[in-house]
Amino acid sequence: MDWTALSVSLQLASLTCLLLLPPGLWLGRTLALSRFRGRPLCEALVALPLVMPPTVLGFYLMQSFGTDALLGGTWQSLTGGSLNFSFSGILLASLVANLPFAVQPVQRAFEAVPSNLREAAWCCGLTPWQTFRRIELPLVWPGVVSALALTFAHTLGEFGVILMVGGAIDGETRTLAIAIYDRVQAFDEQGAALMSAMLLLVSFATIGVVYGLGGRGRRPRVG
């Protein structure tokens, strides 16, 4: 059992969720409520990682992470490190790859909130921010929860993108999914089976906890 790989996987998934939450909320709400000219293009860009083969996405990310590319070069001049083959690199790749999972459920949830609820809140005297916090957020909560669940689970299982960008450096970029592949390549089927079961368990627990939370928000509260 590769505990280091499990730890890398969990850190990657948690940080991806945490970092994607604010932009996911903002983008999902904007796409749901605003009617601007570039909206279809914007939606297509958000959905792109969903339809792109992970290795292709990984390839492009690897290219742009190179120190001679704009992104990679800027990163290096700022931090002194490289994006390729580093935890920061796979985290950034994971943020891009998970964008549709973080945005789309939130967008659907905001679309389902009747616009006159916002207007009723304004007429009650709530500012737009108070309206967001007290009216919209509680109503879109189940959507936010499923966005987090999908992002977390998808990050745990991501293979192609991580391998392309990060390789399999122990304690840095070797996630559990990659560790399983390595064990199979090394004919250690028992190790692979153990880690697969672990990944299954963690994924299931995550989804269970998260849906449990989401479900509580959905049920009418009587008291």
């Binding site: 207007e119 009723a120 007429c123 005297g125 009418p220």
Partner: protein
């Protein structure tokens, strides 16, 4: 409710005054509306679907910005296109009851009302919200979610929430359209009682003419965003400003005639009839074509064999084309001899039976001269634009 209701209103502190609205725009929703409503008055905005009623309410609430115009309430300018002034909905303090009530589904009845009470100290919000719920007769339902309330109860929560903020204007957007008939009657009655306690302008949007006539002090008739006439229901139904208003108010007897003079007497020629008219004919030039209207209450059926009241007044012959029995009242449509027009009037069903009235029967009626209402200004499509 035998006890004095605990009234959470703080009327004395609410600066209340006349609401005046004058808005114009060519599109996307055409608007050309002018009206006002005084504190304590209930003005109904009536008109068919798509006549701009809801858009006008939204403009007053600050949820919609028309291209041109001015909206003022109690000396305060809420909207003025010329200067670009437009107060946000939060600054206007309107109580708006949405057509589908727009209750916050995740908050119980009390919390819904409390949202509108942010201006109070935190300790008072809860008791004030409960007092408002009691005021709309929802004691004991404070902890229910909107999904656990009936349609009528939801409407009451929405009303309590709208009133809780001590609004300077109360706006009601078809507040009775989503409930059953029995509940609607009860809620209408409660609104009529409540009105005596809230001294702010109240605007009621409805397409139900009976509801508007029963509840409102005045009606404002709207069509395609234009305000056509404002008057008490009684005046509107007897003296519509134009054939268009008469049609919108579902009035049938609108005809055209020509002003005539014979032997020094002014008459209104209609087909081959020369009608006596009590008011308005004298100052019209001879030869003018004029639209005229007769309320169906001013059509008197002649009894067979026995002379009736006003029999000599504008006698007209016709054949019964249609008889619709609507409970105790029968609506009769008469094909008027020597014209292409049909005249409609109502008589008690028992009277219709007693008179042996039936389809195809020839009958005579009198058109009461005092009831004939001339609408000389609105003839052709040329004058349609003015309001």
């Amino acid at each position: 409710m035998s006890d004095e209701p605990l009234s959470p209103t703080t009327d004395a502190t609410i600066p209340s005054g006349r609401l005046s609205v004058a808005v114009r725009q060519a599109g996307p929703i055409p608007l050309a509306a002018d009206f006002h409503c005084d504190p304590g008055e209930l003005l109904a905005l009536v008109g068919p679907s798509g006549s701009g009623k809801t858009t006008l309410l939204r403009a007053i609430a600050g949820l919609y910005r028309p291209a041109q115009g001015v909206i003022r309430c109690a000396e305060e300018t809420w909207f003025e296109a010329a200067t670009g002034r437009a107060l946000r909905p939060q600054q206007r303090r309107v109580g708006l009851v949405f057509q589908d009530y727009a209750l916050f589904p995740h908050l119980d009845a009390r919390a819904n009302v409390m949202v509108a009470l942010d201006h109070l100290p935190a300790t008072e919000r809860r008791t004030t919200a409960e007092a408002w719920l009691a005021r709309v007769r929802l004691e004991g339902l404070a902890r229910r979610l909107p999904a656990e309330l009936s349609g009528g109860q939801r409407q009451r929560v929405a009303l309590a929430r709208a009133l809780a903020r001590s609004p300077r204007v109360l706006l009601l957007d078809e507040p009775f359209s989503a409930v059953d008939q029995v509940t609607r009657r009860r809620l209408q009655r409660e609104l009529a009682l409540l009105r005596e306690e809230i001294h702010v302008p109240v605007l009621l949007v409805t397409h139900d003419l009976d509801e508007a006539a029963a509840l409102a002090d005045r009606l404002c008739v709207l069509h395609a965003g234009r305000s056509l006439q404002q008057a008490p229901a009684e005046t509107l139904f007897r003296h519509p400003a134009s054939p268009e208003v008469a049609r919108l108010l579902d009035r049938h007897n609108v005809f055209r005639g020509v002003v005539e003079e014979r032997d020094g007497l002014r008459r209104l020629r209609w087909g081959h009839y020369r009608l006596e008219v009590a008011h308005g004919l004298a100052h019209l030039p001879v030869g003018t074509e004029v639209a005229w209207y007769l309320p169906h209450s001013d059509v008197v059926l002649h009894r067979r064999g026995r002379p009736s009241r006003g029999e000599r007044e504008n006698p007209v012959a016709g054949v019964v084309r249609e008889m619709a029995v609507l409970g105790g009242i029968t609506s009769v449509t008469l094909g008027v001899a020597h014209t292409d027009d049909t005249l409609r009037f109502e008589i008690a069903t028992h009277a219709a039976r007693r008179n042996g009235l039936g389809r195809g029967e020839a009958v005579r009626v009198s058109l009461l001269a005092a009831g004939i209402h001339l609408m000389p200004d609105r003839l052709g499509p040329l004058s349609r634009g003015s309001s």
